[in-house]
C-alpha cells in the first residue's frame, strides 16, 4: 500500500516536472513533428460529423456574436455554407488574431475563416485555399486630427494595432520608429481607440472602413485607405491537409457559379458598407479579377 502510494506520487511528480521543463529541453522540433499528424483529413471530419472552424467573435461585421449568442458575419455566412455542403455540423471556435496560426498548427481547429490575409510568411506555416475577399491595410483616425501619411511621424503619438495582424507586421517592418500600442483582441483595441488612447488605428482597410462608417457620427475618417500591397483573404488549413484544402477550393469554385460571395456581401456587409464596395471587395470563384 505504502509502496503503491509512493509510486503514484513519484510518477505524478515525474510527469509534472517533465511537463514543465519539456519546453526547455526539446531541442530539435520546430513546426514539423514526427509521428501522428495533428490535422484531421476530410474523411475524418465527415466521419466525426462536426467541423471545427476558427472565427472571430468580436469583429463586426466579419465575425461576431449577436445578442442571442449566435455567430454572425461575412466569414460565418461562408462557414455555415461550407459545413452544410460538407454535410457536417459546425463548431465555432472563437479566436484572436495572434492565435490563428497556432490553432491550425496544433489541430485545435480544422479551418480558419477569420479574415485571414494571405502572406508569404504565413504560407510557410499553414496552407491557404483560394481567396474569397480583397484586402489591403488602412489607417483610421479622428477627423480633427486626420492621419493621411505615416511619414514624419510625431514620436509622442502611437498607433493602435492588433497583435498578430498584417498591420502589426507591416508597421514593425516598414515604420519601426512609430510607437505601437498593441492589443490582443478586436474588442479591446476598438474600446481603447474610442477612449482616445492613440491617434490612429491601423488594420485591414475593410475593418477600419467599417469602423469609420459605423461611427461616422463620432467623426472618424479613414485618412489612409490603402497602405502597402493589395492582398487577399482566404481560408486556411493545417499545413499538409490537402484533402480538406482541395475540397474547399472545389467548393469555392462551385459557389462562384451562383455568385455566393455577392450574396454573402449583401447579407452581411451591405448594412455597413453600402453596395459601393461590393465589386472591389468580393472575390468570386477563388479567382481575383485583375
Amino acid at each position: 500500500m505504502k509502496n503503491l502510494k509512493k509510486f503514484l506520487a513519484l510518477s505524478l511528480a515525474v510527469v509534472l516536472t517533465a511537463g514543465v521543463t519539456a519546453c526547455g529541453s526539446s531541442s530539435d522540433n520546430g513546426s514539423q513533428k514526427s509521428g501522428k499528424e495533428v490535422y484531421r483529413t476530410l474523411d475524418e471530419i465527415k466521419e466525426d460529423g462536426t467541423i471545427n472552424i476558427g472565427v472571430f467573435s468580436d469583429k463586426n461585421p466579419f465575425g461576431y456574436v449577436d445578442e442571442n449568442g449566435d455567430y454572425q458575419g461575412y466569414d460565418v455566412y461562408f462557414a455555415e455554407r461550407l459545413a452544410k455542403d460538407m454535410g457536417v455540423k459546425v463548431n465555432y471556435v472563437s479566436t484572436e488574431a495572434a492565435n490563428r496560426i497556432e490553432y491550425l498548427q496544433t489541430g485545435k481547429v480544422d479551418v480558419i475563416l477569420a479574415n485571414f490575409t494571405v502572406t508569404e510568411e504565413r504560407a510557410e506555416e499553414v496552407d491557404f485555399a483560394d481567396p474569397y475577399m480583397n484586402v489591403s491595410l488602412g489607417v483610421v483616425s479622428k477627423e480633427d486630427n486626420e492621419i493621411t501619411t505615416l511619414d514624419d511621424w510625431n514620436k509622442d503619438d502611437s498607433v493602435i494595432v492588433i497583435s498578430g495582424t498584417t498591420a502589426e507586421t507591416y508597421l514593425t517592418k516598414n515604420y519601426p520608429d512609430i510607437p505601437l500600442q498593441k492589443f490582443d483582441s478586436y474588442a479591446t483595441a476598438k474600446e481603447a481607440f474610442e477612449n482616445g488612447t492613440s491617434v490612429a488605428w491601423a488594420n485591414d482597410n475593410t475593418e477600419v472602413l467599417a469602423f469609420a462608417l459605423q461611427n461616422a457620427d463620432k467623426g472618424y475618417v479613414v485618412g489612409i485607405p490603402e497602405l502597402g500591397s493589395s492582398d487577399s483573404i482566404a481560408p486556411a488549413v493545417t499545413k499538409g491537409n490537402d484533402t480538406l484544402r482541395d475540397w474547399i477550393n472545389e467548393e469555392i469554385k462551385t459557389l462562384g457559379e451562383e455568385q455566393f460571395f455577392h450574396a454573402d456581401y449583401e447579407a452581411t456587409l451591405a448594412d455597413t458598407y453600402g453596395l459601393d464596395y461590393e465589386d472591389s471587395l468580393v472575390v468570386e470563384g477563388g479567382k481575383k479579377s485583375e
Binding site: 514543465v20 519546453c23 461576431y64
Partner: protein, 224 residues
C-alpha cells in the same frame, strides 16, 4: 441621465449568456477543486514523510508551480504541450489541467502546514496516555488538522474562481469574453456599454466569491 450602457444587458439573451459565461468559469474551478483536494491531501501527507527524496521531489514540484504566474502555466500547457507532445487540448481541458496542478500544490502546502502546526507534545501526550498510532491520528491529530484546513481550503476555492478569469486568454469563452462580444455587437447603439457590462461582470464575480469567503471566515472563527 448618464448613460451607463446597462441597457444592452436586457437585449436578447445577453444577461443569460453572461451568466452562462460565469458558469463555465465555475465549472472549471469546481472540477479542478474536486480533483485537487484529494491529490493535495495525498501530496501534503507525503511532504511530511521522513523520506528525504520524496520530500525533495514535492518541494521542487511545489516551488515550480507556485512561482510561475498561472497565466504562464496556462500558456505552457495550452500552446507548449501541443507543440511538444502533439496533444490536442481544448482551452477548457488545458485550464482544468493547470488548475489541478496548481490546486494540488497549494492544497498540499496547506495540508503540510496544518500537519506540522500540531505541536509535537500532542503526539507525545497521546502516546503517554496509551493511545495507539491509529488512535492518535483518529482522535487527536486529524480532527484538529481538518479544522485548520477547511477554512483555508474554502479560500482556495475563491482563489480558483477568481483565477478562472485568465482562461479568456487561451480562448475559452467565459464571462469576460462574452462581455467583450456583447460590447462589440452593440458598439453603435450603446457606446458606453463597456462601463455597464464590465461593472456587471465585476459584481457577478463578487457575488460568486463573496459568500464562499464569508463561509471560510465564519468557520475559521468558530473553530478557532
Amino acid at each position: 441621465m448618464l448613460d451607463l450602457g446597462l441597457d444592452v444587458l436586457f437585449k436578447g439573451s445577453n444577461m443569460l449568456r453572461l451568466l452562462q459565461g460565469l458558469w463555465v468559469a465555475m465549472q472549471i474551478s469546481l472540477v479542478s477543486i474536486a480533483v485537487s483536494m484529494p491529490l493535495g491531501i495525498l501530496c501534503g501527507g507525503l511532504m511530511t514523510m521522513k523520506n528525504k527524496l520524496v520530500r525533495f521531489i514535492f518541494r521542487v514540484y511545489l516551488e515550480i508551480i507556485r512561482i510561475m504566474p498561472q497565466l504562464v502555466l496556462l500558456f505552457i500547457v495550452y500552446f507548449g504541450s501541443t507543440r511538444v507532445f502533439g496533444w490536442n487540448l481544448s482551452g477548457e481541458t488545458a485550464s482544468v489541467i493547470v488548475f489541478v496542478l496548481w490546486g494540488t500544490a497549494e492544497m498540499g502546502d496547506l495540508v503540510r502546514g496544518a500537519l506540522i502546526s500540531i505541536p509535537k507534545h500532542q503526539y507525545e501526550s497521546s502516546e503517554a496516555l496509551g493511545l495507539s498510532k491509529i488512535q492518535t491520528y483518529r482522535y487527536i491529530i486529524i480532527p484538529q488538522t481538518v479544522r485548520r484546513l477547511i477554512p483555508l481550503a474554502i479560500n482556495l476555492i475563491t482563489r480558483m474562481i477568481k483565477t478562472t478569469s485568465l482562461v479568456l486568454m487561451i480562448g475559452v469563452v467565459e464571462m469576460l469574453k462574452v462581455a467583450q462580444q456583447i460590447i462589440e455587437t452593440n458598439r453603435m447603439t450603446s457606446p458606453n456599454a463597456a462601463f455597464g457590462v464590465f461593472l456587471v461582470v465585476f459584481i457577478l464575480y463578487f457575488l460568486a466569491c463573496w459568500p464562499i469567503s464569508m463561509l471560510a471566515k465564519y468557520l475559521e472563527k468558530r473553530w478557532r
